[in-house]
């Protein structure tokens, strides 16, 4: 994992598109502030001025001039907006990393494309991108509408079931940027975040190679008992662990769960204690999420956690 977490802010751009947009923001803010001051200034003058006759003609001239100025200012802002829109629409690169993001209630499925199917990688709630390289995100949803939004990198793009759309992003500084669902998607819309981990090309390739490997095999009896528990219980119905019989597609892929920084879509730090609490009764933590409570003995839970911890 890289440097400190930079939380989501539009005003702290870390990519070319967010930078363009923040420049548009500052332009708009200054222009509208000046307009605000001018209009209220004229209003104040109208309220406070000493009463003397003003001809209707001079009033008409002033109003026409003000409307004319409005048109000119708005036209200027329109040009700035369209220009920025073109600049952020695509990064004009010939090669890019292609990543698919699929929205689920209430988590993110992340797939790294590859021409060789055996090299494809599926993970969840964490998006790794190489710094300084354009990335194309192909986004869609499996259930309701969600919206992908990493404010430090770019604006939103809705994840709409039945549609797949593409959006370009690029991170210029290595850091962890927080993205959060921005379209109301149900009970746990509030807890549907994703960390965008921007790292150097080398770190990214190392990470990707590690993700391509199947899950780690249990090395001792406790870990083996943990895997048995996973396969015997309802876990296996929803989750995948590549290299095992677990092929469920309902919940997040757990092949490399232990490599992730957060649990439950950016809700909890990925520690043994939090993971244990989540497995026992996730409804306490994130009421309305689709994972049922799991009743198991303390021993069983401990060995399950031990097994999950080796899934690096």
């Amino acid at each position: 994992m890289t440097a400190s977490t930079v939380l989501q802010s539009i005003l702290d751009p870390a990519g070319p598109q967010a930078a363009y947009i923040s420049r548009l923001w500052w332009l708009m803010l200054w222009v509208t502030t000046i307009v605000f001051v001018l209009v209220l200034g004229f209003l104040a003058a109208a309220l406070l001025r000493r009463r003397r006759a003003t001809s209707e003609q001079s009033l008409a001239r002033a109003v026409v001039a003000a409307v004319g100025a409005t048109v000119v200012i708005l036209f200027g802002l329109l040009i700035a907006s369209v220009w920025t829109g073109r600049a952020v629409a695509s990064l004009g690169a010939t090669s890019a990393v292609t990543i698919e993001i699929v929205g689920h209630q209430f988590w993110w499925e992340v797939q790294f494309d590859d021409a060789d199917p055996s090299r494809r990688v599926t993970t969840a709630n964490e998006l790794h991108v190489p710094v300084g390289r354009p990335v194309v995100l192909k986004v869609t949803s499996r259930d309701v509408i969600h919206s992908f939004w990493a404010p430090n990198l770019h604006g939103k793009r809705d994840l709409i079931p039945g549609y797949t759309t593409a959006i370009w992003i690029q991170a210029d500084r290595p850091a962890v940027y927080r993205a959060q669902c921005a379209e109301f998607c149900g009970k746990q819309h509030a807890h549907m975040a994703l960390d965008v981990v921007a790292e150097t090309e080398a770190q990214f390739e190392r990470w990707l190679d590690a993700q391509r490997k199947p899950a780690a095999e249990p090395a001792n009896e406790s870990e083996a008992r943990g895997r048995d528990a996973f396969m015997r219980r309802q876990c296996v119905l929803c989750h995948s662990i590549r290299g095992t019989l677990a092929r469920g597609l309902v919940g997040p892929d757990l092949t490399h769960l232990a490599s992730r920084g957060k649990l439950a879509a950016g809700t909890l730090p990925n520690t043994r204690g939090h993971l244990g609490g989540w497995i026992m009764n996730s409804q306490e933590i994130k009421p309305g999420n689709l994972m049922p409570p799991n009743l198991m003995t303390s021993d069983e839970l401990q060995s399950l956690l031990t097994y999950l911890e080796i899934l690096k």
Binding site: T5, L7, Q8, S9, I10, L11, Y20, I21, L24, W25, M28, L29, T32, V35, F36, V39, L40, F42, L43, A45, A46, R49, A53, E56, L59, A60, A62, V63, A66, V67, T70, V71, L78, S81, V82, T84, G85, A89, V144, I145, P151, G155, R157, D158, P161, G162, Y163, T165, R178, Q180, A182, E183, F184, G186, K187, H189, A190, T267, P287, G288
Partner: protein, 651 residues
């Protein structure tokens, strides 16, 4: 002025006239009233109660968000609360209260005895009331809508929300839309066909123009949302597949239909607000509106452009860039007519003799607040900036600056302005200033920080947030501001109750305004005007010469109404308006049974149609000759000079 034909008596028997236009006594009279003043007051009072209810919901949300990881409300309740708050404020407060003002004041301002289609207006009120009670009772029994006031499919489909909550939302829409369509046609007809002689279209008060323009927007916008919500109910009830993606429906279709209504809805709320502002600016500048024609054309232009912006709610869906640019241009363009109105208001005040009374001060609040909302509106019109701030607290701030600025501040101004006309008593000036100060300060403390929260990445519609997001302190500040706003509203209520019981008796025209509602007593008589006025200018009270004629020749013993031509308000014919009737209420009850029943079973539609048919038959049952609303006399319009030289007897 002799006529060959026999005319009805022209004598104005005041007592007879009052009896003719009176409601029946007692509760029965209240239930059967078709008096636009009585119905208008009900609309305003009911909508104000819903406003308070929506405010309580807002208060609960602010408590929940005051600090991170708060456990005051869970997600299930919070989602119901924010959905009900939005739906309530849009459909049960903002639109109905502005239409209520229209129901009360449009007939008075155009110098008419009544509103057109009075039974339809009565029906609309009962339907609106039923829809409002339906929503709130559902909320209180834990079936309140929980998929937002926009109810995006497929989240609102049965697969993802199996409860009846989205059905409640969709059917509440049907209730309120039928009601507001009924009001819209009545207001347009009143403004176009019942104006006082002499009030040509280019003399019609700007508030009436605003109501007319709004009513046309209602007629074109509401069918889209009714169609959409009906399609949603059909999806949920009988498995049609309009919006469910799994079975071939389309999720984006819902958004297009909803926002084709939803964006004009903003202008449906804001245009009457600007009409109020124009009215108040004129009165308290004590001069005619500067740029009357420009302001009226601005209203019409806003209405037209308002239908071309709906896609700016969908910039994040990934539409082609060319289309997005078009909608950006349209969204920015709509600032031009609004700007023109601003400049005309300022010019009017610049050249007027100002009178700083409470209504005027509330209206100044509008200028500050709405200006901020309008300018942040220009920001969100730009696609690149919008995809950043869309669905964040920046937009929450923006929309409240627009809607509270554009409608609630003018509404409070209007309450202070028209309270004397409606009740015959003045509201207290000091209390009015105090409530304004509290509300204005509180509003800005609540909503201004939300701009910053949005820029710092806080999405809308989240029931809680993590401490490390850093949103805690600004949220706490916003919550603290609610206290001030609440006190502002409480002071207003106290002032209204006090004035109602023991306020200073109001003169007929306490603000020395120029429009016709001030040319009658406060409160107005049952017939609105003892002598129906005629008009010689845009501000009749200021412009009419002392010997301005009044209309004579209308009967006092029947609900006799003068119908005039659309353009020049030349008298066309007279017609008898309906007496109080129980049928609007009964028809509304039958409609309610059908609407609510159809949430549960499709059979409610055919079975529910039977009582509806019966009540409508009762409503339209032919009256005896001479009592029917369709019988007309030949036109014989005569005017006699004032003042009270017993005008009737001259004939």
């Amino acid at each position: 002025m002799n006529s060959e034909r026999e005319l009805p008596p022209v004598l104005v028997d005041e007592a007879q006239l009052e009896r003719t236009w009176a409601d029946e006594p007692g509760l029965a009279g209240w239930l059967t009233s078709v008096d636009h003043k009585s119905i208008g007051i009900r609309y305003i009072a009911t909508a104000f109660v819903f406003f308070l209810g929506g405010g309580v919901l807002a208060l609960l949300m602010r408590i929940q968000l005051a600090r991170p990881d708060n456990a005051f409300l869970g997600p299930d309740l919070y989602n119901q609360i924010f959905s009900t708050h939005g739906s309530n404020m849009m459909f049960l407060f903002a639109v109905p209260i502005l239409q209520g003002l229209g129901i009360y004041f449009v007939p008075l301002m155009v110098g008419a005895r009544a509103i057109a289609f009075p039974r339809l207006v009565a029906y609309s009120y009962w339907l609106y009331l039923a829809g409002g009670i339906f929503l709130w009772v559902s909320f209180l029994v834990n079936v309140g809508p929980d998929v937002g006031w926009f109810a995006y499919a497929p989240l609102s489909e049965t697969l993802y929300t199996a409860s009846k909550r989205p059905d409640v939302w969709a059917q509440m829409i049907t209730f309120t839309e039928v009601a507001s369509l009924a009001v819209a046609v009545s207001i347009v007809t009143t403004a176009f066909k019942m104006r006082a002689p002499g009030m040509s279209l280019n003399r019609m008060p700007i508030f009436v123009w605003a109501q007319v323009v709004t009513s046309f927007m209602v007629m074109f916008a509401m069918p889209a949302v009714m169609m959409a919500s009906t399609a949603l109910i059909l999806d949920r009830l009988v498995n049609t597949h309009f919006f469910d993606v799994e079975r071939g429906g389309d999720a984006l279709l819902w958004q297009h239909l909803f926002w084709f209504f939803g964006h004009p809805e903003v202008y449906i709320i804001f245009i009457p607000g600007t009409g109020l502002v124009s009215t108040l600016v004129t009165t308290f500048s004590r001069r005619p509106m500067f740029g009357y024609l420009a302001v009226v054309l601005s209203l019409v232009a806003t209405a037209f452009i308002g239908f071309g912006l709906w896609v700016h709610h969908m910039f994040a869906t990934g539409l082609p860039q060319l289309g997005e640019s078009f909608f950006t241009a349209a969204s920015i363009m709509i600032a031009i007519p609004t700007g023109a109105q601003f400049f005309c208001w300022i010019a009017t005040m610049w050249s007027g003799r100002l009178s700083f009374k409470t209504p005027f001060v509330w209206m100044l609040g509008f200028f500050v607040v709405f200006l901020i909302g309008g300018l942040s509106g220009v920001m969100v019109a730009a696609v690149p900036l919008d995809i950043q701030v869309h669905d964040t607290y920046f937009v929450v701030a923006h929309l409240h600056y627009v809607l509270i600025g554009g409608a609630v501040f003018p509404l409070f101004a209007a309450f202070y302005y028209w309270f004397p006309k409606i009740t015959g008593r003045m509201l207290s000036e000091p209390l009015g200033m105090a409530s304004f100060g509290l509300f204005f300060a509180g509003f800005n403390v609540v909503f201004f920080p939300m701009h910053v929260l949005g820029l710092h990445g806080m999405p809308r519609r989240i029931y809680t947030y993590l401490p490390e997001t850093g949103w805690g302190s600004l949220n706490l500040l916003a919550t603290a501001g609610v206290v001030l706003m609440t006190f502002g509203v409480l002071v207003f209520i106290a002032a209204a109750l006090r004035a109602w019981r023991a306020g200073v008796i109001a003169a007929d025209n306490p603000w020395e305004a120029g429009t016709l509602e001030w040319a009658t007593s406060s409160p107005p008589p049952n017939s609105n005007f003892v002598h129906l006025p005629t008009v010689a200018g845009r501000d009749p009270i200021w412009d009419n010469p002392p010997d301005q004629p009044v209309v004579v020749g209308l009967r006092s013993d029947k609900r006799d109404v003068l119908v005039t031509h659309v353009l020049d308000a030349e008298p066309d014919h007279r017609t008898i308006f309906p007496e109080p009737s129980q049928w609007p209420l009964l028809t509304a009850l039958a409609t309610t049974a059908l609407f609510i029943g159809s949430i549960f079973t499709p059979r409610a539609v055919p079975y529910g149609a039977v009582p509806l048919f019966v009540t409508m038959t009762g409503w339209f049952w032919p009256k005896e000759a001479g009592e029917t609303g369709t019988q007309q006399w030949p036109i014989e319009h005569r005017t006699l000079p004032r003042p009270n030289e017993e005008p009737g007897k001259a004939a």
